[in-house]
């Protein structure tokens, strides 16, 4: 069966011909996200491995504020919704609405990161530092890495808004918005796992109890 070189079906940055018929950028983004599964998998399983292994406090039950973190989770979920609404607007070439939803997504992301900074500060004042115990080390490394990813996503979103403002995005901005969106949603799904594994699943009685 003869197979001609196909043109990718997505617009924007994926217009050039590729041997797979798929935009290389999108394929690379999915490969990158697949590799990120390994990174976060390592951090999450390290947390699970050392769960309940701390010999000194503070323990999770001493510091966690579930209602507060639940609000943060809703904020991040809402940002995923605004992200897809930005993509829909971009695909319809509705630039003002696309910018609005991108800004809303960045703002929700900033709220989440701000909440995380506040949470870290509160935990630190309650005596939980990076080297206090195994819980502190695994918790800060896992959620800190996630927070850095959210921050990078915010920069990407603001860059899109800036490029759009400077009229440097292609007419069909759907493709770059979709790429940033894929990254943003990945950060969201990682949080879905972290929220369940770290915050919601009970850790059992602490040694102090």
């Amino acid at each position: 069966m003869a197979m001609a070189i196909e043109k990718p079906h997505a617009g924007g940055g994926g217009e050039h011909e590729t041997t797979t018929g798929l935009p290389n950028t999108k394929l690379a983004m999915w490969l990158f996200l697949a590799s990120e599964c390994l990174l976060f998998g390592a951090l999450i399983s390290t947390y699970v491995l050392y769960r309940g292994a701390s010999t000194v406090g503070p323990y999770p039950a001493d510091v966690f504020d579930i209602p507060y973190t639940s609000v943060s989770s809703f904020v991040l979920l809402a940002s995923s919704l605004t992200m897809v609404l930005a993509l829909t607007a971009a695909q319809k070439r509705d630039v003002p609405r696309m910018r609005l939803w991108l800004l809303a997504t960045a703002l929700l992301g900033l709220t989440f990161v701000g909440g995380q900074v506040y949470e870290f500060t509160a935990f630190y004042h309650e005596g939980l530092a990076l080297t206090t115990n195994l819980f502190g080390t695994t918790f800060y490394v896992l959620t800190g890495f996630h927070g850095v990813h959210v921050t990078v996503g915010i920069f990407m979103l603001l860059s899109l808004v800036g490029l759009s403002g400077a009229d440097r995005l292609p007419d069909d901005a759907g493709f770059p918005v979709e790429m940033v969106g894929l990254y943003w949603h990945f950060v969201d799904i990682v949080w879905i796992i972290i929220f369940t594994v770290v915050y919601l699943i009970p850790t059992g009685p602490t040694p102090a109890n």
């Binding site: 797979t20 990120e36 399983s45 989770s73 809402a78 929220f195």
Partner: protein, 119 residues
Amino acid sequence: MADTETPFQQELGQEDLADPRESQAVHREHPSAKEYIRIGIILAVLTALEITASYADVRPAILIPTLYILAFVKFALVVLWFMHLKFDDRRYARFFVMGLALAGTLYLIVLITFKVFLR
């Protein structure tokens, strides 16, 4: 097989494109804003259920699997709808599932080795 088919195309399963279901998947439209909002509401409800369940007086043997199932459903909804794996070319899904399966298997083996599930 013609000379024009590259090894990369063969490796990615280009012949699968001849499958009408595959072709259909490639050309399916992304959801509308209304559908996205519906998915967003479902995600919010599932999150509320998770939080409620974590406060409920339920044995860990029931609570933990319930929380994992709810998280898995939320994960699947975001990946399939918001990240469009349900609508896009299946080769994207293969790449992602490959990474996910590799990570899942690797870390499951690590956790089993250290008897985490027997604690």
